[in-house]
């Protein structure tokens, strides 16, 4: 055991800067992917709640399809398949697009759940009080919906953080790819992959905990399910 840990003391000073630089790429991938997911998800929710049955069907089909497809297949299709149609994306941008598309499907469901959790009477009261529809949404519906939406959205971000590891398989210079490169340089795969696991844990765990704490705090004072 001490021999195992002793390896770290000899190599950590070389490994740490490389991994720290790679973590930045991982966070960029997840954050930009999440931003794309929020934007696309919002569009999808608008379509899902629209009066137009065609828009609803299209959005539904899109969400169902994206949730049935593995992220890896999506990433490989975007990275290797798109060039045949004239669009060549780097691993970085293909990764962000893939993460954003899958995230959008999940975010759309979360947003929809959050918006339907706000009682219709809230909106009616706002309009009756003379507020414009967009004001009602911004100041009355959205804040209340956020209570329900925030923890799942945080969970989505954590999931994207973990899924960014798949971008290593489309040649993106993030944490997992750097780890593989280092493992073949130093021939210490166990040490390096465990250390990389620690990096992911250190990034994801605080956010997961935050999501759990938030869920408990935001549920305080909220009446039971179904009683709105």
């Amino acid at each position: 055991m001490t021999a195992f840990l002793a390896v770290y003391s000899s190599y950590l000073h070389e490994w740490w800067p490389r991994l720290a630089g790679a973590v930045r790429v991982t966070i960029e991938l997840s954050t930009l992917g999440f931003a794309l997911a929020i934007v696309l998800g919002a569009v999808l929710v608008l379509m899902l709640r629209s009066a137009n049955p065609l828009a609803r069907a299209a959005a539904n089909a899109f969400v169902q399809f994206l949730r049935a497809v593995p992220l890896l297949a999506l990433l490989l299709a975007l990275y290797f398949g798109l060039p045949s149609f004239g669009v060549t994306l780097s691993g970085y941008w293909a990764g962000i697009l893939g993460l954003g598309l899958q995230g959008a499907a999940y975010v759309a469901e979360v947003l929809r759940g959050g918006l339907t959790s706000v009682h219709k009477g809230q909106r009616e009261a706002g309009l009756a009080a003379g507020m414009a529809p967009h004001q009602v949404f911004l100041w009355i519906v959205l804040p209340q919906a956020m209570r329900v939406m925030l923890p799942p959205l945080l969970n989505c971000y954590v999931a994207l953080l973990k899924d960014s590891s798949l971008c290593a398989l489309i040649a993106t210079d993030e944490l997992m790819l750097t780890a593989r490169a280092m493992a073949s340089e130093y021939f210490l795969p166990l040490h390096i992959f465990l250390l990389v696991g620690l990096f992911y844990f250190a990034t994801a765990f605080p956010l997961s905990m935050l999501s759990r704490v938030l869920a408990r705090r935001l549920a305080r004072g909220r009446r039971a399910l179904g009683v709105n």
Partner: protein, 216 residues
């Protein structure tokens, strides 16, 4: 050689068999392991045990599955423990699944009314019988949607095993691409194949949940 779409699908289908093997193996480990861990978390009086299990669950859930597979396949090989790609995939996905289901089952057990267990014990059932005939059936009914979610996610996660050379769908897809260059057809076919497997599974679980009238 320019294979048509059907030939591509036929090749990918061979990978689907492996993916199914990995999924079944992992689900067995996940269900058994998750149940054991959940029972331990909910019913143990030892805070230390709960901490250890909690640490395991958090580690498995916050570290990507790809990292777990690499540790099992490449990492352990360096210290002499050699897994086949299939073995590492089944074990890795199974261990992650056990952590996920441990959380699901533990919250499911906690959602049951305490009186159920008390009444069962008062009626003369042993704790094991109380579990088997009273608590677990109710818990499984409650957690069916979450299990369905997990099952769909697991089928999709089998694609990750291609990174450790397990001969499943994405592995065959990538080999096909290098030999025939029909990239859009191949990856499009792979995506379609996954959709055809996952959509029925998630619909089946949704149907079962509705039949059993689970709350949400």
């Amino acid at each position: 050689m320019n294979p048509g779409f059907l030939d591509i699908l036929r090749t990918l289908l061979a990978g689907a068999a492996t993916a199914a093997q990995v999924a079944v193996g992992a689900v067995v480990i996940a269900l058994a392991g998750g149940l054991l861990l959940a029972l331990a978390i909910v019913f143990t009086r030892s805070n230390a045990l709960r901490l250890v299990i909690g640490a395991y669950v958090e580690w498995m859930r916050n570290v990507p599955a790809l990292a777990h597979l690499f540790v099992l396949y490449f990492g352990l090989a360096a210290v002499g423990v050699r897994f086949s790609p299939l073995g590492a995939a089944v074990l890795g996905l199974g261990l992650v699944g056990a952590a996920v289901l441990a959380d699901v089952f533990a919250s499911g057990l906690r959602a049951l009314h305490a009186g159920q267990r008390e009444a069962a014990l008062a009626a003369g059932l042993t704790p094991a019988q109380a579990l088997r005939y009273v608590l677990l059936p109710q818990m499984l009914r409650l957690t069916l949607p979450s299990i369905g979610n997990y099952a769909s996610q697991l089928i999709k996660d089998t694609s990750i095993a291609s990174a450790i050379a397990a001969p499943e769908i994405m592995f065959y897809a990538r080999n096909l691409v290098t030999s025939t260059f029909q990239t859009p057809l191949i990856y499009g076919g792979a995506i379609l194949l996954y959709a055809c497997i996952v959509l029925p599974v998630s619909s089946a679980f949704a149907f079962m949940s509705r039949r059993l009238e689970v709350g949400r």
